[in-house]
Symmetry: C2
Subunit: 468 residues, 2 copies
């Protein structure tokens, strides 16, 4: 780590804000399990002893975001006040300190609310590091010595499938050709697919219109939501396949709607429309269930994809061991930030499973482009069977949003992890204080939680409040 | 559901309190991963339109308890205001409404902070139901028609191993002999084992003294903590085995300390001391890892036990499918309360794996006795290879603590789920407002979080606060 003169030396403090966008008013992002998401994030800024800051976020879909914000505050003492040389000098140790805080780990461990909070903090630490080095995150990763990069990974619970030495060897093996691959990422970018036309709440006309519009733009891969109603799914798959033709690709996504047997039966009905993959056919926790589904559907040419709700590297390790997935869909915030994500990419490489990141949401496209570009340059050296989700949505709130050209993500040029949002957006959408929320409360479109508190009875020594 | 005249009709409100006991001052409950637990709980009271209340709690070990409390508040609107006839008339649906709240499930789903909060609420709902019926919970379960009991279970994601019809059949098959078994539970009780002598922080003398004391009381099963240091574990196992002799039972518990290969190697070293089981050898998320460990250790006569950190029925389903556990250690709060626990008991029965509940903590002994007694009377009809953890600790805070006689839990007689705490205890140990905490802050044994706030910078439209 080169020490420029303006290099900060310690984390002075942090802020965390509850940012929510009222997306449920438009059915954006609706699926079989999440009918009314309000795309949201816990937004973290790390303050240092210079003007350099680190920005990080963790995506959620509305209610519950307050819990991730609270968990960030609870974890703050683990990193605030610490020297950057300590933090990055043993980044795996820092990650372990956050994920294994001796009392807090009980309410995880390494999953759910707590792990989403870890992700926001870890994402901010990587953003800060990349800014200090004046590089976009992908370039920081690409330029890092294999030994240094691998030193950021906590190998606990995955050493039975991937050792530190193997990981270093994997990266060293791929050093030749890196410059050429880096150039390609800068000039041409990384291929993307669109989910923009496939939300359940959209009307038939809206889907048809959007599909034609996307095809005119050159998109070749389309994902639609399924799982609500079989007959409707068949009708919609048929129409989409007719519009996109035989040489473009259809993927379908059930968002965990089914049990194992139901997933197999339902997908046999959709097989004639030749989907490339079925995404999230069942519970994200069901490794063996995914393996059963994958085994049944492979002969039909349908792959299994999952990952956006898979809680940590231990679940991914097993999905790979059990041959339960054909496409590995890491999420930039569900996993505990970059350190853990690197481990999953390396395990996926070992098992010859392509990584196709989950994106959309708030800031996910911005983050995963860095990860996938690193994968292409330093790990897999291939885009075969690999494609990154893309949703044109909410990017106006980001200072340096992803740039997509001819359906490819172009390698970001600005230093950091690309998640810095405009202060105006933060001021407008902080829940429930922001100006946009004030407006929505006034218009009666949402209830103000401050004037319509949840109907519980609160007892405290300082007095008791009885509501309703 | 019989409707007495005093039967309440709706949930009017709820309270939830952050209760913590400063147990880390005595090293009570310390293990290889949790060196300094402060045994805690999120304590819920459901208020109705009569004097009948429902009490429920979820156990944690200190920091992070505030997140479970916050999650209970966030989930409160799902049940507050609802009619009891709706709630219990479709209890599986109520459980699904809590676990699949359309926005909040993103920060779970069915795991961690959110699921612990669901457990506290669901435990309180079962306590309320049992009080309404004027029965201890075990008796409510035992007397329930199989169809009614099974109707409380959400079978989503487990139907590939257990259907509703199979579950009903299993219960009907065991109806004969119930009265005799019920009598045995009332007169003799359910066998227990003790962990009281085995905490890592205890001195050699304390362990020896406690073991001899427990043996004099008639205890025959002893569990000790391992995983910190191999040589020390060997030395301690040797001493314990020498003191308890060959015909009493030793179990060891690693609290997730190891990777898969390390667990196998370490336990081979401890095999000469003939432990019955190794508990939590590795990550609670690693189904396949547990299967590998179990396969390696079975020839040595060592079984694998886990469950206190296993997040939901989907993980238990897989542990059973993969033959990864020889002993199934359900936890009364880690799983989403009684509804989900019933499903796990029934799956364990199908796979012929005995359930040996995790207990200790705050209120866990009080709860699991009901579950295990139900299992004996209505499900397994056997105590073979089954034993309930017992820790003599903190029971003075409960109004009707478990009664242990000759190392057996006696079937509770008081209506409810036995977790009601004394109001004095709640007032003394509410964090950070309670009188005991005030005292500890004054004595300088803990930092008051109100006067030593976490060092973060908070930005809000209403103003900004900069600390440190």
């Amino acid at each position: 780590m080169a020490h420029h003169t303006y290099y900060p030396t310690r984390i002075r403090g942090l802020s965390v804000r509850d940012i929510r966008f009222p997306t449920s008013l438009q059915s954006d992002g609706s699926d079989a399990i999440h009918p009314d998401p309000d795309y949201s994030c816990a937004y973290v800024i790390l303050y240092t002893d210079t003007d350099v800051k680190g920005h990080g976020l963790s995506f959620t879909i509305g209610r519950g975001n307050e819990l991730v914000v609270a968990a960030v505050k609870s974890l703050a003492p683990v990193i605030v006040g610490r020297q950057l040389s300590d933090i990055y000098g043993d980044f795996a140790g820092t990650w372990r300190a956050l994920t294994s805080e001796s009392q807090m780990r009980w309410v995880g461990p390494e999953k759910g609310v707590l792990h989403l909070a870890v992700a926001a903090l870890i994402n901010a630490l990587w953003d800060l590091w990349a800014r200090c080095e004046r590089k976009p995150l992908w370039k920081l990763l690409v330029d890092m010595e294999p030994e240094k990069l691998v030193s950021t990974i906590d190998f606990r619970y995955i050493e039975d499938v991937l050792t530190r030495e193997e990981a270093i060897h994997m990266l060293k093996e791929m050093q030749p050709g890196k410059e050429r691959r880096e150039e390609r990422m800068i000039n041409r970018g990384y291929p993307a697919y669109t989910t923009g036309a496939g939300w359940l709440g959209y009307s038939q006309e809206k889907i048809e219109g959007l599909l034609k519009e996307y095809m005119a733009q050159g998109w070749r891969h389309f994902k639609i939501k399924v799982g609500q109603d079989l007959e409707d799914d068949k009708r919609r798959c048929k129409i989409v396949r007719e519009i996109i033709g035989e040489d473009r690709t259809l993927m379908v996504d059930a968002n965990q709607k089914w049990g194992v047997d139901q997933a197999i039966a339902w997908m046999k009905e959709l097989a004639p429309y030749k989907p490339l993959w079925i995404e999230e056919p069942t519970s994200p926790d069901d490794v063996l269930g995914h393996a059963t589904i994958a085994k049944a559907l492979r002969p039909l040419g349908i792959g299994v994809a999952t990952g956006e709700m898979c809680q940590n590297r231990v679940i991914f390790k097993q999905l790979l061991q059990a041959k339960a997935i054909d496409y590995c869909q890491i999420d930039a915030c569900r996993l505990g930030g970059v350190n853990e994500i690197l481990a999953v990419y390396l395990m996926a490489k070992k098992f010859h499973v392509p990584v196709c990141p989950h994106a959309g949401g708030v800031g996910l496209c911005e983050m995963v482009q860095h990860l996938q570009i690193w994968d292409y340059i330093s790990v897999s050296a291939s885009t075969k069977d690999r494609i990154v989700e893309y949703v044109a949505h909410l990017q106006e709130h980001f200072k340096h949003p992803r740039k997509v050209n001819h359906c490819h993500y172009l390698a970001p040029k600005v230093a950091g992890y690309s998640v810095e949002m405009w202060e105006e957006s933060l001021l407008a959408y902080e829940f429930p204080y922001g100006s946009q929320w004030k407006k929505l409360f006034t218009e009666g479109k949402y209830k103000d939680p401050r004037t319509s508190p949840p109907p519980y009875v609160e007892h405290r020594l300082k007095g008791s409040i009885t509501q309703r």
